[in-house]
């Protein structure tokens, strides 16, 4: 049964024109799909192909293409394989549909992505702050947020030749490789 299901799914997805289908191994499938078709695809996978477990939703910021890539990883206990459904949405306004009605754990991932990338999911039950409750800057995982500049502006640094380090060096310790050298 489980093998037949996989073959049946492969045949079906290869026949749909707008879906780019790539079987990477016996247990991994990559599907590239337009953002309008993704909820329908997930409904098909969950309802008819036993992909009932949403492992994760991840987000990639492709700033040069002005797009966010959302990746939905769904797992089937029956066929024991993972489908990664990739879709791209425009970066501005960065709004997409929630799949909370299909997979309830999605609320958790969508809230996280909203916090880290600023993508708004319509229909998600809670878009409040999640982990960064005490952060009021821009979403920090977006590519235009320059973490290094923020750090240099906010924090000050320890001197590299303080007195206590000289004392340690006298005892035979100290810095062996400097950060400037490592960053080169």
């Amino acid at each position: 049964m489980s093998k037949e299901l996989n073959i049946w799914l492969d045949n079906l997805l290869e026949d749909i024109e707008s879906v780019q289908f790539k079987r990477k191994s016996s247990r991994r499938v990559r599907i590239d799909v337009a953002s309008e078709a993704l909820p329908a695809l997930l409904e098909l996978l969950q309802g008819h192909a036993s992909y009932v477990h949403l492992s994760a939703i991840s987000c990639v910021d492709w700033i040069d293409n002005d797009e966010f890539e959302l990746v939905y990883h769904v797992w089937s206990y029956e066929t024991r394989s993972l489908v990664s459904a990739h879709t791209r949405i425009p970066r501005d306004p960065g709004v997409y549909l929630s799949i909370y009605d299909l997979y309830q754990p999605a609320a958790f991932f969508e809230r996280d992505i909203h916090e880290m990338f600023g993508v708004y999911f319509e229909g998600s039950p809670d878009m409040e702050k999640f982990i960064l409750t005490e952060w009021d800057g821009p979403p920090p995982m977006r590519k235009e947020f320059d973490s290094e500049a923020f750090v240099n502006q906010t924090f000050s640094w320890e001197q590299y030749r303080p007195q206590w380090l000289k004392e340690i060096e006298e005892e035979g310790g100290g810095i062996t490789s400097r950060p400037e050298d490592a960053r080169r």
């Binding site: 005490e134 920090p140 973490s147 923020f150 750090v151 906010t154 320890e158």
Partner: protein, 244 residues
């Protein structure tokens, strides 16, 4: 410390420091005895923030056996002497670390383990981690490394013991003496409305450690919005039962 100050031997040492002739050769004995006892019985509160905490179980248990030095883990800050910060502190965690530190009774000592507490370590680029722990609370001993081995942890603790015995480990006094500086750094990171339940200025007055640096523009800003700490209401029955 204020009780020790009231002992008559202390007054004689003050006379020696002022240039007088030392009359009593046993003048320092009591202080030295207190310092010795203090260095040999330390309760350690390990605030396991980062990865460095993984080196503490071997340092504590039979392999390296911290307890032979008189160091034991302790569960509450009210009974602890040493605060171990074992790794990176995120800005959110730093608030809790400061609350914990301020709850500990003096004399208290802080040990920063791992490179992250020194200068951010491998998280130097991260927007969420505080970089230099020394700016927010005085640190007695840094144990650098990523991560330091249990031998290094033990060696750092032994260094702290030596410092306590010789009376050099007095960084907890710096927190009271330079409170304005530390509070300024905290306010810079947490915003102007930052307030802890502990009244540090009153505590500094209690320990007689008030200097020019204790109060300043930052404590003035704190006093502007500071709410006095309210005692928790205690009752034996639930509120619904009382009303009916």
């Amino acid at each position: 410390m204020s009780t020790i100050d009231k002992f008559p031997v202390r007054q004689e040492t003050a006379a020696v420091e002022a240039g007088g002739k030392r009359s009593n050769p046993l003048a320092h004995v009591f202080d030295e005895l207190v310092n010795f006892c203090r260095s040999r019985s330390m309760f350690m509160l390990h605030y396991c923030t980062g990865c460095g905490a993984i080196e503490l179980p071997p340092a504590m248990t039979s392999r390296f056996d911290m307890e032979r030095l008189g160091i034991q883990p302790m569960v509450s800050p009210r009974q602890a002497d040493i605060l171990l910060i074992t790794g990176y502190v995120s800005i959110k965690t730093l608030k809790r670390v400061i609350l914990t530190y301020e709850q500990m009774p003096a004399p208290k000592y802080v040990i920063g383990i791992c490179s992250c507490t020194v200068n951010g370590g491998m998280y130097w680029q991260s927007y969420a981690t505080a970089k230099v722990l020394r700016e927010y609370m005085p640190v007695d001993v840094y144990i650098a490394g990523c991560m330091p081995r249990p031998e290094a942890v033990i060696s750092g603790l032994r260094k702290l013991m030596g410092d306590i015995k010789s009376g050099r480990a007095d960084s907890w006094k710096k927190y009271f003496q330079n409170y304005d500086y530390y509070l300024g750094n905290q306010q810079k990171l947490f915003g102007e409305n930052w307030q802890t339940p502990t009244d540090i200025v009153a505590e500094a007055r209690h320990y007689e450690l008030i200097t020019d640096q204790t109060r300043g523009e930052h404590t003035a800003l704190l006093e502007k919005h500071q709410r006095p700490l309210e005692a928790l209401e205690m009752r034996l029955t639930s509120k619904e039962k009382q009303t009916t």
